[in-house]
Symmetry: C2
Subunit: 357 residues, 2 copies
DNA sequence: CTGAAAGCGCTTACAG
DNA sequence: CTGAAAGCGCTTACAG
């Protein structure tokens, strides 16, 4: 007692000070009720006075409480955008095992909205304590979150935000400003009168994502503000049809010889890059998004001028961690977390993936 | 026993399987010796077979082991480079309290080598379990680390690496390549024949840091590789003497009217920026390093063309975490961790500090 | 509404 | 060289 050199105050200390047992203190700390007005007030007073900080390690060890999260995200192959996102999820999961947290992946086909629909059907029958949701199909995410609200399950958005929803947090970039950054990178090195090709992937039944639209708006807004006088030409490209893309682009370049710039608003700029390299159109500046393997190679090769990136690993990591902190410690994250917009050139890309977190 | 649904195997389980007590298993796990050959072999075999993973939470709770780290770094005012670094240290510390880790800051004057010398004298009398060292005064760091080696104290370098030392890890950028990135950003928008001002801070007895020299070498190497034909002019500037700097630069610009670019290799480009803004020399492109407050303001204002940054918070954070993981879990980090080299323009700087980690 | 007691998985004296 | 027992700070039935 006399040589008690505890610097931290524990539940037993609180109990002693308030003249009750540890169980009663525990009830107050967790608002479990069943405590007399009098004890409640007294304990709360002590708690406040000593600025009690629970030892989360001990709590986790004692409670044995397990948390299951789900990550609702597009399926991916190695080297693709969502693979990086998943790496962030995995890293967070590795840290969170300490708190008995596990993350289940639920993947859909980002080019097929019905796959998302049926995934939601599956999720309706699953039990979980929190969710990370990639909001590619915003119209369907919104009603689903109403159900999660009703179930009292917290969820975090990534990719693009839907402010109308009751999300615990959002992690992603400002798509509009990421569009402006791409414009700056392209326009910096372009004659204001040059024309620009905008590569656009066409696939079954997708009207273009939120993100695509917002990036394009930011891009156009920058051009307008900087006296751009050229024209934008939209090229309808296909994911897996090089020959067809070649014909489309050949014609476009033939008809518009003043094209000197190119851009895509999703992560598929390697398609345009492949074309430019094949046709040896060195004079065309190309800017795109995301450091996926194929884009990175084209940047290093000097075919792509610049890439704009959004730290997918950080998005995955922080989304999971936000959920953990909320569930385990009751600590609420900031609602809107606009991540940095990264600029990659040939010179700095070798180091980009060295701080995956 | 029958409905034992433990998915994780604990020390008692190991003990039971090996037919010994938990204390003996503990001895083997921690190589404390005093175990018979026979038991040692048997227990190790079981450990291997079940792929035993200790519960670090329980370990930390039970051992009550405390770790003291020190961070040896330059003193700073708010908004300066090392303030960001310290923020990373603080964030890591907040996470590491779980493992009874605390970090003590030991600061020196980065413009005064004798202050570093006397700091080392202090450190010789201190007890600690690990150190993060900013290697600005490399010549003095090296002999000091021999002493740490002798004491068996692990240390991590930040800022610039000293490969000759026995460091646990290094976190920082490749200064050479960061120099090339600055050159690219400047040169991209410059006539190959234009002249460039290199701002250089002169202060008592500093011959220029490692980092400064390496960045300059990378910068020059890029220029050479890209047919730069202009000249570099070195301007000796002072930290706190605007009037003097003005005179120096006025003369330089008067004598060299073809100067169209400017660069600094440390975080003081706001000095040159202030001059360019005051004299309304809008035509001069300026590139510098580090997103400190004053630089960021000049970038947002359009006076600075681009900043090259090195994630000081991430350096601080990861340096501390590397030490924690090593001490607590015995997990060794990669030795050389070259951090990403970030590029900041007016358009993406607003979001840069949103993912401090 | 309340408290005594066991237990989370590991470590640490202590006695042999 | 070995093991029984207490304890880290918290939670959880359980009995009152």
């Amino acid at each position: 007692m006399s040589d008690n050199e505890h610097t931290t105050v524990r539940i037993v200390d609180i109990a002693r000070m308030a003249g009750v047992s540890v169980a009663t203190v525990d009830r107050v700390i967790h608002n479990r009720g069943k405590v007399s007005e009098e004890n409640l007030a007294r304990i709360n007073e002590v708690l406040r006075r000593v600025d009690y900080r629970p030892n989360l390690i001990a709590r986790s060890l004692a409670s044995g409480r397990r948390y299951t999260l789900c990550a609702v995200m597009p399926r991916f192959d190695p080297g693709e955008y969502w693979a990086d996102f998943e790496a962030g999820i995995a890293r967070a999961e590795a840290e969170a095992v300490r708190y008995n947290v596990t993350v289940r992946r639920f993947c859909f086909d980002q080019y097929d909205r019905s796959s998302f629909e049926s995934l939601l059907e599956t999720l309706r029958r699953e039990e979980f304590d929190g969710a990370v949701i990639a909001t590619l199909f915003a119209e369907m995410v919104e009603p689903f979150t109403r159900e999660l609200d009703a179930r009292g399950v917290p969820y975090v958005f990534v990719d693009s935000d839907i402010p109308a929803c009751n999300r615990l947090a959002y992690f992603g970039t400002s798509s509009f400003d990421a569009g402006a950054v791409a414009a700056r990178l392209l326009f910096d090195r372009l004659d204001p009168g040059a024309d620009i090709v905008v590569g656009r992937i066409v696939h079954r039944g997708d009207a273009g994502s939120n993100q695509w639209r917002n990036r394009e708006a930011g891009f156009r807004s920058y051009l307008e503000a900087h006296a751009f006088r050229g024209r934008l030409h939209y090229a309808a490209l296909r994911l897996d049809d090089e020959a067809c893309n070649g014909r489309v682009l050949d014609e476009m370049f033939r008809e518009n010889p003043s094209i000197a710039g190119a851009v895509t608003f999703n992560s598929t700029c390697y398609i345009l890059a492949g074309y430019l390299a094949a046709r040896r159109r060195d004079g065309v500046r190309l800017v795109g998004y995301d450091v996926i393997r194929r884009n990175g190679e084209m940047l290093s090769a000097g075919v792509v001028t610049a890439l704009v990136a959004q730290r997918p690993e950080a998005q995955g990591y922080r989304a999971v961690m936000a959920l953990c902190e909320w569930l385990v410690e009751g600590r609420a994250p900031s609602k809107v977390n606009n991540m940095p917009i990264d600029i990659l050139l040939k010179e700095n890309i070798p180091y980009y993936k060295n701080n995956i977190i």
